[in-house]
């Protein structure tokens, strides 16, 4: 089984980078099994193709505009994810929807896709998360652990 946890976003634009921060936090807090690869996708596009080919599970973490209070965490699964990236809700919709479409054409789509989204408070220049979003990273990590556990993987918290 191959699983990728993909954090995307721009680390230079505060909450825009929350997906990457959360992916790092998962890696720092847990010893992950060898089936799982954590990818810091930043704002890259086609460079991610090789990492995302022929996966059993793809779990994406990104800042998304839901129109909810900042820090709200949401989960989407399956066909809703590519559809979601075609809307205007995510700043990275163009890149990821193109990658997913290309993977489909090449016959290398992930078996299952889950998206964990976080509503940003600030997209200002800056490398730190806002006060509204930073405390939610632990919650996102717990959700990620839940996703991985649900597909039969086990992991240990680092000492």
């Amino acid at each position: 089984m191959r699983v990728v946890v993909l954090g995307i976003g721009n680390l230079l634009m505060s909450d825009e980078g929350v997906g990457v921060h959360a992916a790092w936090a998962l890696q720092e807090a847990f010893v992950l099994p060898s089936e799982v690869e954590v990818v810091d996708g930043g704002t890259t596009g086609m460079e991610l193709l090789p990492e995302l080919e022929d996966l059993d599970h793809l779990i994406v973490i990104d800042a998304v505009r839901l129109g909810k209070p900042p820090g709200t965490v949401a989960r989407l699964v399956g066909d809703d994810v590519p559809a979601f990236f075609k809307t205007k809700l995510s700043p990275h919709q163009v890149g990821l929807s193109d990658i997913l479409a290309t993977l489909r054409f090449a016959g290398r789509s992930p078996g299952r896709i889950v998206l964990i989204g976080i509503e940003p408070a600030s997209l200002e220049m800056g490398m730190a998360l806002s006060a509204a979003v930073a405390p939610r990273v632990d919650e996102v990590v717990a959700l990620l652990v839940g996703e991985l556990t649900a597909i039969g993987l086990t992991m240990e918290r680092r000492a």
Binding site: L12, D40, G42, G45, V94
Partner: protein, 568 residues
């Protein structure tokens, strides 16, 4: 009566570029290129440790991560007059060239080919005839009829589901689409093969850079790759042998597929050698340094005036004053204010936003307008290939002649070298540059192996920051052209930092003298068959490989303009 067309966004992968044209009597008579997002990354760097700048600057852009990282360490090294060990140069060169190869292949096959290739038309192709055609063009091993039959079937299934995926919203059936169904099928098949091949280039970058898409192995003063012949965890001879296999596979694809396909598109669209010329003052910097100090380069660079190769003025070293003193940026037509009037040298550069609305004769872009000795310049693979030709650079000439010969044979008429100053010429030059990058990648692999065999495993020289102020410029001939980072360092901290990126040069708005930028100039005179579907505008702008993510940045929701024509 002139018709105004606004295209926003214009890029497939990275958005934020808006193009406005005025069409009169079926031709563009006015053009504006506008960056729709603000870039303020420079301000994040103020007061930081210069040794950290590269890791931050590689987050400027999602497409050009490594190029900003490499240019940043070069800027700091230039400020410190710090040399880097040979192994570090070779490893950096391999990362750079592999990244460039990846970028060029993906740009041609996955981002711009759909401007020329009609995917839906490929359904009407006869796969057997496609195979005959392909075999007549090249002895590429993956041109057999079974390949085209398989792709044809797959395409039918894909289109049948009504989900065209990456091909959605194409200008299918547009009168400017000229390829036959068989050639279209050939292109779709190579689109898929290029998806496979680009993985090898990516794998080279991730093996050497520890990770991709954001490399981890750089350091001011060298690289952090320990070299050993007996350990699993570091750069070993075994890993280098795997890299060699991937280099060979890239070379086979570039020579037998990419160069041939670009020639075929050029021949079938020979009329496009007459469109999109624009500014013929070209600027490129030398790259792939083969010594510690950055004075000997495998790829030449310099300045060419008015498209005349005899006017070539080379740039010779990192920090060459001819380059260093020639660059300035104007904000007369950009949404910034300078504390005093006139253009500014990047070391004195300022980033103070001043948004107005879109003013045709005033400010209309978040992109600044860079100039070289007061003039706009076109940058990119075409600029670099022309400098190579002017300098008598053998690998450039060899591949350039191969492309020109193939195009001439297919078109049935002799195509002159001046045809390069065009929309299609930029695609041809990119393929030539890709082949030259492959030669450089190969040569640096060889040089690294030989140097290690001599017992030299040094990869890092420790930087020492002096008291007081030092200034440095780092440059790199990136996939989209000249990239320069300008750092002012005071008491070991960054006091000013400016990045003048390739797309800033090419997507520049009008400058201090109100002269148009390269995109704008290239669009003038372009014929537009159907103002509702301005495919011709996209062709010319895409031929520059626009990447506005690093020219500007930051979501600008309040000022978002209405999408009038949605590009792919």
């Amino acid at each position: 009566m002139a018709t105004r067309i606004t295209i926003d966004p214009i890029t497939r992968i990275e958005g934020h570029l808006r193009i406005d044209v005025e069409v009169e009597n079926g031709k563009v008579n006015k053009a504006w290129s506008s960056g729709q997002m603000w870039r303020g990354v420079e301000q994040i760097l103020l007061g930081r440790d210069p040794r950290d700048a590269w890791a931050i600057t590689q987050r400027i852009c999602g497409v050009c991560t490594t190029v900003h990282a490499i240019t940043s360490v070069r800027a700091v090294e230039n400020a410190l007059q710090l040399e880097v060990p040979l192994n570090a140069q070779y490893i950096r060169n391999m990362i750079m060239t592999a990244h460039g190869i990846h970028d060029h292949i993906v740009h041609f096959y996955h981002l711009s080919a759909l401007d020329w290739v009609d995917v839906v038309s490929a359904l009407k192709a006869d796969p057997v005839k496609t195979a005959q055609l392909a075999e007549s063009l090249s002895d590429w091993e993956n041109n057999g009829r079974h390949v085209f039959i398989d792709v044809h079937e797959r395409l039918k299934g894909f289109v049948g589901t009504g989900q065209l995926g990456p091909f959605t919203n194409g200008y299918w059936g547009h009168p400017a689409m000229k390829l036959s169904p068989d050639v279209n099928l050939l292109a779709v098949a190579h689109y898929l093969q290029a998806l496979e091949v680009q993985r090898y280039a990516n794998k080279i970058v991730s093996t050497l850079g520890s990770k991709t898409p954001h490399i981890q192995n750089l350091a001011v003063g060298g690289v952090s790759n320990p070299i050993a012949t007996d350990s699993q965890s570091v750069l070993t001879v075994e890993r280098l042998m795997l890299i060699k296999e991937m280099i060979d596979k890239l070379g086979a694809f570039i020579r037998n597929c990419y160069l041939v396909d670009v020639s075929a598109v050029g021949a079938f669209y020979a009329d496009w050698t007459g469109h999109g010329q624009g500014i013929t003052d070209y600027l490129a910097v030398p790259d792939v340094p083969m010594d510690s100090a950055g004075t000997k380069f495998m790829m030449p660079g310099g300045y060419i005036k008015g498209g005349d190769l005899a006017s070539y003025h080379p740039i010779k070293t990192f920090g060459d004053p001819y380059f260093r003193d020639g660059v300035a940026e104007s904000v007369k037509h950009s949404w910034y204010n300078y504390s005093n009037g006139g253009a500014l040298h990047p070391w004195k550069g300022e980033t103070t936003p001043h948004y107005t609305d879109f003013q045709d004769d005033g400010k209309y872009s978040w992109v600044k307008a860079p100039t070289f000795y007061g003039k706009p310049a076109q940058v990119g693979p075409l600029a670099q290939v022309l400098c190579g030709a002017a300098a008598g650079h053998q690998p450039t000439l060899t591949y350039l002649n191969k492309v020109v010969d193939t195009v001439s044979t297919l078109a049935g008429t002799r195509i002159p070298l001046t045809a390069l100053h065009s929309t299609i010429g930029r695609h041809a030059a990119r393929a030539v540059r890709c082949a030259v990058l492959y030669e450089c990648l190969q040569a640096n692999w060889q040089a690294l192996m030989e140097n290690i065999a001599k017992g030299d495993v040094k990869t890092f020289n420790k930087p020492v920051f002096p008291k007081g102020e030092v200034m440095g410029v780092g440059f790199h001939e990136a996939p989209r052209g000249v990239l320069s980072h300008w750092a002012v360092i005071k008491d070991g901290k960054i006091a000013n930092y400016q990045a003048v990126v390739p797309t800033t040069w090419n997507a520049a708005p009008r400058n201090e003298e109100d002269s148009v930028g390269p995109y704008e100039a290239a669009l003038l005179g372009t014929p537009i068959a159907d103002p509702e579907r301005p495919l011709e505008v996209l062709r010319t702008v895409h031929s520059f490989d626009p990447c506005l993510a690093c020219a500007v940045h930051l979501t600008d929701l309040e000022h978002k303009t209405v999408v009038q024509v949605k590009a792919l």
